[in-house]
Structure formats: C-alpha cells, structure tokens
C-alpha cells in the first residue's frame, strides 16, 4: 500500500495505462495535484480518506465513461489502501490520428 506522493504516482501511472485516458487532468477550478518536497504529481489528489483522479478522456471515447472510470478504480485499488476513489473527467481530447 502506497501513501502520499507514492500513491499519487502509482495512481497516475495506472490511469494513464487505462484505455480511453488521453492524459491526466489539471483540475477545472482548483489545481488537482499532490505535492511533496519539490515533486508534484498532476491530476491526483490524495487525502487520508479520498483519492481523486482527474483525467482527460480520449475522443472519440473507446468505451463509456463509467467503464473507463471503473477500470481506473480497479487498477488503483491495490494501492489506494481503502480510500474512496473518485474519477473526474476534466476534458475530452481528440486524438491526433482521429479525423474529427
């Protein structure tokens, strides 16, 4: 079980490895990030009870958003240490190879 910045890093890697995730989000109204020393992990907010993962979804969506979110939660669960995991889709990004 990871904690703090380690958990943020693990969550970020897990999220980016999920199909349908284009990049980590930055938070829409306040910066979503975890800081420790000089290190910053964007798109993940770790609190003692919660884990908030902000993503930018790839467009067109390969799967419905709830499925992508569930997949991220499954990947992060072993590291989350029982924290409630929230997935927030901050934006959609059209992939370069898509002609939309």
């Amino acid at each position: 079980m990871a904690d703090g910045i380690e958990l943020a890093r693990a969550a970020s890697i897990a999220a980016l490895a999920t199909e349908g995730v284009y990049s980590m989000g930055r938070g829409r109204y306040v910066a979503a990030a975890t800081y420790e020393g000089s290190e910053k992990v964007s798109g993940v907010v770790v609190t003692p009870e919660d884990l908030e993962i902000h993503i930018v979804a790839r467009y067109p969506l390969p799967r419905p958003i709830p499925e992508i979110a569930e997949n991220i939660r499954e990947r992060v669960a072993p590291e989350a240490g029982g924290r409630k995991t929230m997935v927030v889709v901050d934006d959609l990004e059209v992939a370069d190879d898509e002609s939309l």
Binding site: R28, Y29, A57, L61, P64, I65, P66, E67, A69, E70, R73, K84, T85, M86, V87, V88, V89, D90, D91, L92
Partner: protein
C-alpha cells in the same frame, strides 16, 4: 446568491466603517465636531415614536405591510442561503464525475451531426443527483418541420449520451430558425 451577498456585505461594512469614523470624530470632539451638534434629533424622535407605536400596536397599515414584506424578504433570503449551491461537476454514478464542459462539448458535437442542425449552443447545469440538466438551442433553416427535427434531435442526443455513459436527467431542446449565412454551418 453568493455574489449578491458579497456585494451586500462589502457595502454594509463600508457603511459601518464610515459610520465608525464619524462616531470617533464626533465622540472625541475632533476637528471642532461635537457630539451634541449631530443633526439626529429629528431622527431620534421619529424612531422613538415608531418604537412607541410598535409597543402600543398602533402602527399604520402601510408600516405593517412594509414590515411584513421585510420579514418575508428576510425569510426568502434565509432559505436561499440555506440551500446548498449547485455542484460544479456532473455526477455520473458512484465516484465518477465529469465537468460541465465535457457534457456541453458532447451534446454540441452530437447536435451538429444531425443533418438539419446548422449550429448549436448548449448550457449544462449539474444537479445534486446523478445527471445533468441540458438546455440545447439548435439553429435550423426557416420553413423546416420543427417538431420532427426536435423529436429526432432529442432522441439522437439522449441515445448518444447514453452510449457514452453521460447521464442526462432533463433535456430541453429549443429550435431557432436562422439564416444559414449567419450560422456555423451552411449546409449539412
């Protein structure tokens, strides 16, 4: 409501500050201003008679109406303050949220893929329960069959959003007849 409260509080505090400055100046007889010289005698008398009227129950009808209206206004304001503000993100289900702009972009994209729609503008409001309230304004050519386009547009948007897993609790579609030369798309 919060902006209104902020403006109200700024004005109130500014007024209290100015009043406080006056009180200090007059209380300490600064710059030849004396407390006795304050022109508040008429106000004090008027206020005294008003309080006496309240105690005796002999207020005029107009005054009673104004007081009741003030009480109602205060109650409305109080209730409005107690109501939690609308969430900023759209709740999709357990622990999954999307920003309103994501829903707006998706609705707009879907709407503009419908052949008769020349342009659109979308407004999304997040609700406390899962789902969003979507107001879609679509621009179409003059003379088109609006009812058919509206029902088609509604079902297409609902279907596509459902495929994406984006919950919509209410979808309002408004069609506006527009000149194709002034819309985003002239021909679909």
């Amino acid at each position: 409501m919060r902006v209104f409260n902020r403006v109200f509080m700024i004005l109130l505090l500014a007024g209290l500050f100015v009043l406080g400055v006056y009180v200090v100046i007059y209380a300490f007889d600064l710059f030849d201003y004396k407390l006795e010289a304050l022109p508040i005698t008429d106000f004090a008398k008027g206020f005294e008679s008003f309080v006496a009227g309240v105690e005796n129950g002999s207020l005029s009808t107009v005054t009673i109406i104004i007081l009741v209206l003030l009480a109602i206004l205060g109650l409305i304001w109080f209730v409005a303050e107690l109501r939690p503000s609308a969430p900023r993100r759209v709740r999709m289900g357990s622990g999954t949220y999307v920003t309103r702009s994501v829903v707006e972009d998706e609705v707009s994209t879907v709407a503009e893929q419908v052949p008769d729609v020349l342009g659109s503008s979308v407004s999304v409001k997040a609700k406390r329960s899962p789902g969003a309230k979507v107001d879609l304004e679509a621009r179409v050519r003059r003379g088109e069959d609006l009812n058919t386009i509206k029902s088609g547009l509604q079902s297409t948007v609902r279907e596509r959003l459902s495929e994406r897993g984006l919950p919509v609790s209410k979808l309002n579609v408004k069609l506006v007849e527009a000149d194709p030369r002034q819309t985003k798309t002239r021909v679909q």
